[in-house]
């Protein structure tokens, strides 16, 4: 079964945790953002070939800059570009930076917290 624990970390700790997971034989299976009307979180999920899986979760804000883990886990660049385009969270050091053109949506940061969410 899938472990339902989302271990809280700070944005600054994400790279260290990613290194640890890489050294322990995990690979990245997804990164996504989630939000409540008040706050946003970024969730990273790592999986071993035996299917054991762990997730970490960090609190972020629109406009924050998070260090990319694409130099540790190559596929991370796609998730990071996606989160940048849909949620407005910036990533530094991505191995491929689409500069906001991966998703050419009519509304910028369409998934981020809006004023109507807070009402």
């Amino acid at each position: 079964m899938t472990d339902q624990t989302f271990n809280p970390v700070t944005v600054e700790e994400i790279v260290d945790h990613s290194f640890k997971y890489a050294n322990d034989g995990y690979r990245l299976i997804q990164i996504h953002c989630t939000k409540t009307p008040e706050e946003m979180f970024i969730i990273y999920t790592f999986e071993k070939l035996d299917l054991s899986c762990e997730s970490i979760k960090a609190n972020v804000q629109v406009g924050d800059t998070v260090q990319s883990i694409s130099k540790i886990f190559h596929p991370a660049f796609l998730y990071e570009n996606e989160i940048h385009d849909l949620y407005g969270v910036n990533f530094s050091g991505m191995i491929v930076d689409f500069q906001g053109t991966l998703y050419e949506t009519a509304v910028k940061q369409a998934f981020s917290i809006t004023a109507s969410d807070k009402e």
Binding site: F6, Q30, T34, K35, T36, E47, L51, L78, T105
Partner: protein, 359 residues
């Protein structure tokens, strides 16, 4: 070094059924790089979860894709059931497995047809799709729909399949299996098929892991991983091993899918033999609260669902990490060094579903 040219491949291309878009960087006829663009048909379906009752949202989720529609609805239901601690009846687990494996057969037959079309084998393409129609007939008989079924709900199913119909499905599938075996021989032995696929787009074992490949793209490189071994639905009661090939080329990925069709027939027969009688739903009380992550095996590979509830009938978030999204980095690794003429075969070898990717 030849002069560099950039050629757009898609979003509209004769070989692509979906709007995949790659900017191919060429030196003469050789691909030296590829830049993907997605978002061409992005629909923002995940955002819609904030405005739809969680019970109604399943009808949106199953419209993420017309090929793996059922498994998307199953994944959504399973995630919300996990979030709410709902235990579904055993019969539901078996029926979901049967419809899920029928979906895998029809998806792989569709893909095999498209692959045959990509290397110009028109008669094989028509055979694959002709046989696939019989699976769609089973869907129509059991659900009323050929593409979107709307049989799954949070807490169970809207429709049962009676035991007489299940027996008749076995008879139909035995015929389909015979026809599929004839086509499998062509895919495994035909000179044209091998010429176009063997040694093309090789991904090594380690590259498949490092690049995040999933499904037949991962297993075609020798990696033993299949989410069904987690035992969700009725898979924990059925006997099977992940199908693996070792060469890592387009041929290996094709053979994985050919062999998975046979495996799906076997899983359906096992499920029909073991299916218990009983209810097809349970009453779901309250609203989802908390967060839950589920992994399933779609025909194209691992799919990850995440749901976050807030105690109201609207979810804060429903996230779908589709298999095609995970298989884009492996595709970008396969393309450099390939001939332009092989790009359609390479792109199809990951079985891209842009409808899923741009949910």
């Amino acid at each position: 070094m030849g002069e560099r040219t950039i050629i757009p491949f898609g979003p509209q291309h004769p070989v692509l059924p979906e709007p995949l878009h790659l900017d191919l960087i060429l030196e003469d006829e050789k691909v030296v790089g590829a830049v993907p663009s997605i978002g061409f048909v992005h629909r923002g379906l995940e955002k819609l979860v904030e405005k739809r009752d969680f019970n109604e949202m399943i009808y949106v989720i199953e419209r993420i894709c017309g090929i793996c529609s059922f498994i998307h609805s199953q994944g959504y239901a399973q995630t919300i059931e996990g979030l709410m601690g709902v235990e579904i009846p055993a019969r539901v687990k078996y029926l979901r497995t049967i419809w899920g494996e029928l979906s895998r057969i029809h998806s792989h037959l569709l893909w095999l047809g498209l692959m045959a079309d990509a290397y110009g084998f028109e008669s094989l393409f028509m055979h694959c799709w002709r046989v696939r129609e019989k699976i769609l007939d089973i869907f129509e008989e059991t659900t009323g729909g050929r593409v979107i079924f709307s049989v799954c709900k949070v807490g169970g199913l809207w429709k049962d399949i009676d035991n007489e119909t299940l027996k008749r499905i076995v008879t139909v599938l035995k015929d389909v299996e015979k026809e599929t075996k004839k086509m499998a021989d062509v895919f495994t032995r035909d000179y044209t098929v091998q010429k176009r696929t063997r040694g093309v787009g090789v991904i090594t074992y380690q590259e498949a892991i490092d690049l995040g490949a999933v499904g037949p793209t991962l297993r075609g490189s020798g990696v033993v991983q299949d989410m069904r071994t987690l035992g969700y639905a009725a898979y924990g009661d059925l006997v099977f091993e992940p199908i693996v090939e070792k060469d890592g080329d387009c041929y290996a990925r094709t053979i994985v899918r050919v062999r998975e069709i046979s495996q799906s027939f076997d899983l359906i027969y096992q499920a029909i033999n073991k299916i218990p009688d009983g209810e097809i739903d349970v009453k779901v009380k309250g609203n989802p609260n908390g967060e839950f992550l589920t992994r399933l095996e779609q025909p194209r590979g691992q799919v990850v669902y995440y749901a976050k509830g807030n105690g109201t009938k609207y979810l804060d978030r429903f996230r779908v990490r589709t298999p095609t999204f995970a298989n884009i980095p492996p595709l970008l690794k396969m393309l450099p060094g390939a001939d332009l003429a092989d790009v359609p075969v390479l792109a199809l070898s990951i079985d891209p579903c842009i409808s899923c990717t741009e949910r």
